[in-house]
Amino acid sequence: MTSKKVTSRIEELEKLAAEAGIDISDELKKIGAKISETSKMGKAWQRVELARNADRPRALDIIDNICDDFIELHGDRYYGDDPALIGGIGFIDGIPVTIIANQKGRNLKETMARNGGMANPEGYRKALRLARQAEKFHRPIITFIDTQGAFPGLGAEERGIGEAIAMNLREFSQLKTPVICIIIGEGGSGGALGIGVGDKIYMLENAVYSVISPEGYASILLRDASQAKNAAAMMKITAEDVLSLKVCNGIIAEPEGGAHLDPAESSRLIKETIVRDLADLMPRNPAVLVRYRNQKIRKFGHYTEN
């Protein structure tokens, strides 16, 4: 927004200079370069802020908008139920699907109750239980990812958060049913990936996907927590970045200004993508589906052998 204002002022200045017969084109070029550099950095951070926006539609808002008759299912059958990672059965355009999602809160009370969308091991184990159930009954799976990461707490470690995520990565790679993963806000680290292995990976236009938060990267690798904005740009975490790195299949557009300004329209665009992809994925032979999914996963990485 601000850089747009500056650009329009510069255009005015250019006109004035031309009228007065003064050549300032070299100076303007320098300013132009500076603006584009700053805006690139600013753009990545703007996305981080939009992805974290308190009014951004949460998974349950989207589910309400795109699903008929959503039935939430609870518990991992071993330890408990994790309100930070929800799941259930719903109908999208008449097609029964299993939905698994990170659920952040919309206000302080709900955020506390849902641990800010940071799941414990029982959340990941519930996700796996519901995914296997979906496979058993030939239901496609939709996941909505929106988390800073798995919960780094004492209990999470005691109950094996690492093992729970690892098992999901292994088992989701083998599910004989279509899996569509959509990052709707923050896609943070292993906590996001724990429900992020599938046949199609999408990102909302203002979603981010990263191995560590920009703040974490800044404080660990740049040794300066205030460099988070820089880190956000360096890490290539925006939807455009992740698409150009071929780690996601596509970007789902958001209404002008962000999903929070028109949740209904944003949900409609999400539903459109899901319905289109289900039509594509559901007729596929499950064995072929699994083979393609794994072939794609195995390609991630850039190395040379010489």
């Binding site: 919960f151 995520i165 690892a166 292993g190 790195l245 850039h302 052998e305």
Partner: protein, 271 residues
Amino acid sequence: MSEKITCPACKGEIERNSLEANLKVCPSCQYHFRMEPTERIAYLADKDSFVEFCRNMKSLNPIDMDGYEEKLSEATKKSNISDAVVTGTCTIERMPVVLALMSFSFMGGSMGSVVGEKITRAMMKGVETRTPVIVYATSGGARMQEGIFSLMQMAKTASAAAELDRAGLPLFLVLCDPTTGGVTASFAMLGDITIAEPGALIGFAGPRVIEGTIKQVLPEGFQRAEFQQDKGFVDIISPRSEQRELFVKLLKAHSESAARNAVPAANGGKA
């Protein structure tokens, strides 16, 4: 007289020679010093049986991170390995295995494209040659300089572990000090049998991150191998000097049961 080294656990002084002769374990308190892949190979593998693969695999700096290439070449110069894992085949008491050994001294054993690919290939080698796979893990987690690609290595190695699992071949994991982050949340926790070295720190989130979350000092021994065994995530805590013998037993158990199962198949399913 060789150089003296102070044990970080008991503060006793040990001569370098005697420490190395003792598999880098403190003779007085049994503290396990960190060990390099070549040292483990010398102890574990039958003499001259180790054949390395993917020795020269190098990362291509997938997100063009400033300064990463320099970091890599520095680490390579210091360690004489091209990234944080060494992979190969060998025999242990004439029983063939695929071996993958991580090195913590190479950028904290972090997992990027190369570690992910080499671990994957080690597992695929196991599938192709019907051979058990042994992985020695030690890592601070994901190679953050590779951005999203480092995260994807978790999915990749887990997908390879799935194939090994479905092919009915054993994956033995040895968790060494420290094993944390993305490595813990992927292949390191997917072994059929999980072994840990005494005292090894094993967890997903690092202790300082957890302390920051709960605003409390963590109890003594939290996330150590003994704690993880108590919580049910480690099968065996094995001192270094006993690991070779342990693998001989495990590999024998595996090959015997595989041989017994092969009999009906050879008779066309008839007993």
